[in-house]
Structures are given as C-alpha cells and as structure tokens.
C-alpha cells in the first residue's frame, strides 16, 4: 500500500511538471500579442508609425481612448445592444440546438438518420451570400431590425452535432427508466438530460455567446441605424476604413483625412473584448469532473 501511494505521487508529480511547462509556454504565446495590443493602445500614433508597435510602453498616451470615448454614449449603447443580442441569442440558440440534438440522438426515433443528414447537408452546400442576402433583406425584413443580429447565428448545425455527440454518451437506460416512471419526452429532456449534460451545454453556450459577441458582419449587412450597431462593428469600421481608404486613394485618388488609426485599433480591440473575457471563468464552474450517471439512475 505504501509503495503504491509513492508510485502515485511520482506519476502525479511528473505529470504536473510537464503540464505546467506546456501550459505556461502556450499561455505566453497567447498573452504576448495581447500584451502588445495593450501597450500599443497606450502609445502615441506617431511613435507607432515611426517605430512600430513597442514591446514595452514608451511615449505613454491615452489619446486613442480619448478619441474613442469622445462618443462614449455610442459605445455604451453598443454594449447594451451587444449584451442583449448575446443573451437572447444564446438562450434561444442553445435551447433550440439542444432540443434538436436530443431528438436526433434518441435511438428510438425512427427518422433520426434522415434528419441528421437534413441538418448536416447544409454545412456542405449553401446558396452563397447573394441569395441569402436577398432573402433576408427583401423578404424577411432584416433592415435595421434587431432580429437581423439575432436570427443569423441562432441555429448552428456544428453546435447541434457536438451536443448530439455528447448526449450519445449518456446511456439509453436513463431515458428508459424515466419513461417507466411516466415522464414525458420534454420533461425527460428538461429535468434529466439537461442537468446531465451541463459541461457540453456550458461549452456550447460559451461558443454561441462568443459568436454573437464577435459578430460584426450582420451589423454591416443590415444595420444603418447606429443605435443598433454591435461593438465589433465599430472595430471593423475602424480597421476597414484604413484599408478601404487606402484602396480608394489608390484607385480613385480620393484624398480623405483620417484619424489616428494605429493605436486606436488596439484600444478598440480592448474595449470590444471587454466583459466577455470574464464569461469564461464563469462557465468554468460547470466543468465539474465526475458527473456520476449511475447516481442519477439510482
């Protein structure tokens, strides 16, 4: 027994050493660019154009933030829109995806194969941007409408299949025993399956929320009213205007004065990431090891 315990310790220690090294290395790789973004945001534009983005703060300046927060109410409103879209979209998106995923993995559901293919097929073939845009803009009234920001990201076949894959690992016996207890399908889903699949639901919620948070494309396609702009769209406008003006200047010789862009891009990136970065630690608490399926059964 004693030897056994020692053996345990040796493997745990070696595993931890390797694990710490790998994780620290990868974290540095992930943090470094982010660090440059933060430093860049607080550096004057002239310095960046002349010397590139510094690794360490030089010529400290907050002018980029001042430039952005010049219109602070717009940014705040945009936070509101983004949070609303993210919350509503994530709630309904995950619910719809999870329900469908549950049905698709029920082995007693006769047409599950067909419907799986029905969904999966759309990840292979799509009509492309033009028909989709015409449908949304002309027939579904997406112009300047909040649902233009929510609907396009609502159902994701990819997420659906991930949930389905996870639910597949829950033994059928769980559903069957609940059946015998007289529970209906929806109740089984809500009260037994969902609690059992917390990790995957948390994961998919996180993914869906991030997708909504990161979305700028739908704002660009459908929204003219700046009261409905998503945060990321502000960032893309900023980046895009530099690139677009370059092309316009090149092709048409149009000369337009442009704002300090280098540091502002970085500052905007920070503002856009904002609170969403704290979502992850929040989701982490659902990653609890050892959901014991047997316990539910009994």
């Amino acid at each position: 027994m004693r030897i056994n315990r020692l053996k345990f310790r040796a493997d745990i220690i070696s595993f931890n050493i390797i694990g710490y090294i790998l994780l620290i290395l990868f974290s540095i790789v992930c943090i470094l660019p982010f660090w440059m973004i933060i430093v860049g945001a607080f550096t004057s534009d002239q310095y960046i154009t002349a010397h590139g983005y510094p690794l360490w703060p030089v010529e400290f300046s907050t002018s980029s933030f001042e430039y952005i927060l010049n219109d602070a109410s717009a940014i705040l409103r945009s936070y509101g829109v983004t949070i609303f879209v993210t919350v509503v979209g994530t709630f309904f998106g995950v619910l719809i995806n999870a329900m469908a995923a549950y049905v698709l993995q029920r082995k007693d559901f006769k047409y599950r194969n067909f419907f799986s293919f029905y969904f999966f097929f759309t990840t292979l073939f799509s009509g492309g941007l033009v028909p989709w845009y015409i449908l949304c803009a002309k027939y579904l009234n997406f112009k300047d409408n909040i649902h233009a920001l929510i609907l396009p990201g609502l159902v994701s076949v990819w997420n659906m299949l991930i949930i389905k894959g996870y639910l597949g690992s829950i033994p059928d016996a769980v559903t069957e025993s609940a059946y015998i207890d007289g529970a209906g399908d929806f109740r089984i889903f809500l009260q037994i399956i969902l609690p059992l699949s917390k990790p995957v639901i948390a994961t998919i919620s996180l993914f869906t929320a991030l997708n909504y948070w990161n979305d700028w494309y739908n704002s660009m396609l459908f929204i003219q009213n700046e009261k409905l702009f998503m945060l990321q769209f502000y960032l893309y406008k900023l980046i895009g205007s530099a690139q677009g003006l370059k092309i316009a200047a090149d092709k048409a010789g149009i000369v337009v004065e442009n704002p300090p862009i280098q540091s502002t891009k970085m500052a905007m990136t920070i503002i856009v990431i904002g609170p969403i970065i704290f979502l992850y630690p929040f989701v982490q608490k659902y990653f609890v090891k050892g959901i014991t399926i047997g316990a539910v059964k009994g």
């Binding site: 154009t49 029905y118 002309k138 769209f233 370059k246 010789g253």
Partner: protein
Amino acid sequence: MKKNLKLISLILLIVFVLSTVLAGCGKDSPTTSQTSSPVKVTPSETVEEPDEIDISEHRDLIMLFVGDKVADQDMVYEEINKLAKEDLNCTVTVKNLSWADYQQQYPLVLASGEQLDLVYAAEWLGYFEQARKGAFHEITMDDIQKYMPITYEEQDVVSFEQAKVDGKFYMIPNYQFEYNVYRLVGVRMDLAKKYGINEVKTIEDLEKYCEVIAQNEKQMFAIAHEGSGGNDNFALFFRQPNNLHMVGGGSTVFAVKYENGEFDYDNLYNVYTMPEYAEYAKMMRRWAEKGFWSKNAASGQGKINDSFVAGKSAVDVWHVGGVAQDIENAAFNHPDWEFDIIDLTPESFKTVNKFTNNGVAVSINTVDFGRSLMLLEKFKNDQRYFDLTCVGIEGKHWEDAGPNKFRPGPDADKYPIYGTSMWGWMSEKFRRVSETEPPKMRELINSWIPDVVYPITDNFIFDDEPVKSEAAAVANVISTYSTIFDLGMVEDVDGALAEMQDKMLKAGFDKVEAEFRRQYEDFINANR
C-alpha cells in the same frame, strides 16, 4: 444513404419550386415593375408633358454611398432635406457601405432588388461591368435636358461619352479636372541639404538621393512602399518616362504611346513585352537591392503616406493632391522639415482623370427616376447643396475664406472635407480648396493646364464578356507578377518575365488580346 439522398433531393425540389414562386411574387412589387429591360427605357413619359414636371407626390429617395458614415452626416442631410423638401418635394436617406467590406457589399446591395435611387458609381468600383449587367437605369441626353438643365448646358459631352457602354450611358460623371493618374514626388529637402544634395530634378537624381538616405538614415526608408505601393512605381518610373497611356480600363496591359505631340493610336503595346518594361523592372530590382524600401513591402500593413508624414521615409510618391496633403500634414507636426513637390518627368504628357472616375448612377430599382436626377442636379449645380454635402455646415464645419476657398471650422473633424461619396457630383465650378494648400501644387497644376491632352482612348472600354474566364485568369497572373516587378522582388527579372508570359498564355491571353484588339480597332475606326 441512398434514401437520404432521395429525400434531400425531394426537399431541394420543393424548396426550388417554393422560391421560384416567391420570386414570382416579388416581381409584382412596384420597385421592380419597370426593370424588365434597361435597354428599352424610353423617354415616353417625358414626351407627354414636356414643360411641367409633376412633383406633387412626395418621394423619399435612397442614396447609396461608399464609405462609413461620418459623425455629422445625419445633421448635414437634415439640412439637405429641408431644402429638398421645399425645392423638389422629396427627401433623401443616405445608405452607407462600410469601407470594411464595400467591394463585396456594393454588388450585393445592387443585386438585392431593394429600393435604391441615387448610387455612387465609379469606374474603379466596376461601373462598366455593373452597367452592362443591368444594374443602372439608362440616362439619355433628353433626360438630362429635361431634369438637369444646368448640367445639360454646362457639362461637356465628353464626360457622358466616357460613360458609354455599348452606345448608352448610365451615370452622370463628376465634372472636375483631377490630375490623379499622374505621379510625382514629395521630397524631404532638409535631408537633401544635410547630405549636400542641391537639387532633385530627374529620376537619376532621385536614385542618388535615395541612395544617400538608405546609407545614412538607418531608421528610415528612402521610399516607404507598403502593400500597394507598386502601382506608384509603375506610373512614375515606367509609364510617364515612356509617355505611355493605358487603354481599356480595369487591369489592362495595353497602352498607346504619345510621340511628337500626339498619340499614336495605330500601335497598341502590351506593356509587359516592351523592352522598356524589362529595363524598368531591372531598375526597380536595383533599387530594392539598395534597400530603398522594405524587403517586405508587399506584405506591409501600413499606409504608403503615413510613413512619410511620420518621418519614416524621405520620398512620397503619389498624385499632386495627395503629395500636397501629406506635406501639409507632415509640416504641421514638424515645422522644421523642408519639403518640395517635384515633377520628375516634366516632358511627359499630362492628362486629366477620366470623368467616370467618380459619378452618380440611378439604380434600376428607383422609385422615381426623374426626381432622382433633379436632386442630383441640385447637388451639382446649386451652391447651397454643393457646399453642404462637400464641406458641411458653414460656421460649424467650415468657414468662408473667399471664392472657392475654405478654412476649417470648429467641428471640421466631424464632417471631413470631401470625406464622403459626394465625389460623384464634384465640379470645378464650386469646389473649395484649403486656404493653407501648398502653393507649389497650384503652380504645378496651372503650368500643366495649357498642355493637357485628352486621349480618345479614354472613351474606349474593353468589354471582356466574350472572354471573361480568360480575362479573370489573366488578371490573376498580372496582379501576381506586376507586384513582383514593381517592388523588385526577384533577382532574375528576365526569367520571371518569361515565366509571366508563359503563364499568361496558359491563362488564355491570346484570346483576350485578340478580342481586345478587335474591339479597339472597331472603336478607333469609328472615332477617328
């Protein structure tokens, strides 16, 4: 599996039928009622009532701009709408396409079939292609006479000729004389003096100057090309010294030569096979090796002129207006620097931009063609409208500084001067220039004016429809290799040139060339 496929194909079939029906319904909507063919739009409506134009019904027109909304755009257009409501019983709503993705979005919006009246159109945005594919409403001289009488009187017919596609035109081009195709340089003269260079007058002088900079100013580039700088090299160091004028629009490879005071329209050159091009490419290679610009210029992310303004480069290659603005900006931050704008190829012919470089078209999905043109007439020829759209609200965004001059107002940054797609109705008549514009710029332009030439080939647009696959494939080869040569990226210039020829042939250049020459000859014979 087979069963699945069958079922899916059944669904597809149903969907197909459904959407066809949907599309059928859509056809009855009023916006598309007059769209069945752009070719047959006749001024029949105009014949009925030649004198009075009926504007009793209020219209809200939608105008498409390329570029993001500037801060005070809504405020300015509120003012416009006050005027327009009174004058024309209409209002206008501006729809902005973000710079972030305008290249993809512009055709998308045109294709969507939603209401759209005035549209900023330009050759560089693909006007000819869109016009040919039925995106715009045809405009006739009768229409202009009826709805835009001042334009009819004042605007040179040449501008409409340039906009013609298969004999018809679909846009009202802007009417200003821009010298944007002509490249010259802005040079840091204080650095020249520092290293004992007295004057920079020719391309050889420039090379010497750059050499000195490259050797001595280790923190600088001589010419900071980043990303797209290649085009500027091509223009300044190849096209202008050789007196060539590009023909056909788009990514053309053909040019005509200007010799002894006139264009030789009979000889059409493929620039990439000219010995002068090989020489130019070798010169660029030499310059690249000497480190005039970054080895990674092609991958650069910054803007060409930013480095010059920030003092990271000594030479700015651009058109006269651009160089002047860069110098203005650089001098603002560094009053101790000295600059000069230099025309390195004074012998080269001078030409103005094609008028189709900016313009306004009326979409095929317009609710009121006549009213759209009438509003455009106001933008072009009513100074109140023109000033509002171009420089903003007086006293707020700008202040009057004498005829055709302005001084920035307190809120100038909220409505940048000439910062929106009003480029489409720019005109020489009302255009205001900055009080502080470098005098050298006017001087140069004024010296060019007497000698400006108007090549008739500017009216020729190559219709690549019969060979469009080949044209796209060839365009890919050209964009690949031209960057390599313009920025001197390969050692073996001759080898790369041969490789390029080979790839172009593979891509079907023969067919493109034959078609191009056929169309060109037809055009020249008809216009001589």
